[in-house]
Symmetry: C2
Subunit: 150 residues, 2 copies
């Protein structure tokens, strides 16, 4: 049995993966690079960290449903590490529930679309530098692990 | 027939891959991330571009043998894009032939070792910023291509 419940409803994990895949494809079309499960210096993991071609850093938190959002009291901490934070949700998600400090992206498996821009809170130059370095190290090491698992 | 000639001698491609793998493992042990076939803004491709945890960028050119080095008249151009350039060679390579503007790394399939430090020519702040961004974009997009080839 994969991640589909007894009643045929898609589980939270499968739904999140599907939405994250759509968001990653959308970002790839922007020329951005996105890394899943990106560990911040605080120790928390962002669902996706995206580096845009202009150097902007977007954090993207995938929410499979209202319960998933309600259970997350930690998301405001992500605001300190990105230029913009987005929630990525299914088209059926009641968008009015999503907090205004973040933007909104609606996704399916194949693509995503920004429904509401995030209020930009530009990172300081020093933090941008350290986060861009971290992005390169995380992405490069993970790529190397895929190509040479030994 | 793989990349081994009729007389049992390892071909240039196989030798280069072996040395590059050793260099990548050495770099991973330093906490660095390395990306193979890294395209520079000039259009040329470095065999390996490494991002070190302190933000330093190393270019690494793998030379399978003396003929491979002799055939390369382009390597001085790489100096403009990195803090340090290294040649990575087999232990049997006559090290005295390697130019002094670059450092020397000796490798096998499993590891590598720096035999001579590269003279550091620090990148300007602007170029470091743009190259670190490029590194993140290249590594992140390539990782995404591995995980979602569609």
């Amino acid at each position: 049995m994969d991640d589909v419940g007894r009643d045929g409803v898609e589980g939270r994990g499968a739904a999140s993966e599907r939405l994250a895949r759509g968001a990653q494809r959308f970002l790839a079309n922007l020329g951005a690079a996105a890394v899943a499960e990106f560990r911040l210096p605080s120790g928390r993991r962002l669902d996706l960290m995206a580096l845009l071609p202009d150097g902007t850093l977007w954090g993207i938190e995938v929410k499979s449903g209202v319960a998933d959002l309600a259970a997350d009291r930690k998301w405001p901490e992500y605001l300190d590490w990105v230029d913009a934070l987005y929630f990525c949700v299914d088209p059926a998600f009641p968008l009015a529930l999503l907090p205004e400090q973040a933007g909104v992206m609606v996704a399916d498996s194949f693509d995503a679309q920004v429904m509401r821009d995030a209020p930009e809170r530009r990172l300081s130059a020093g933090r941008r530098k350290s986060m861009t370095l971290r992005f390169g190290l995380v992405a490069g090491r993970r790529l190397q692990g895929r190509d040479d698992p030994a």
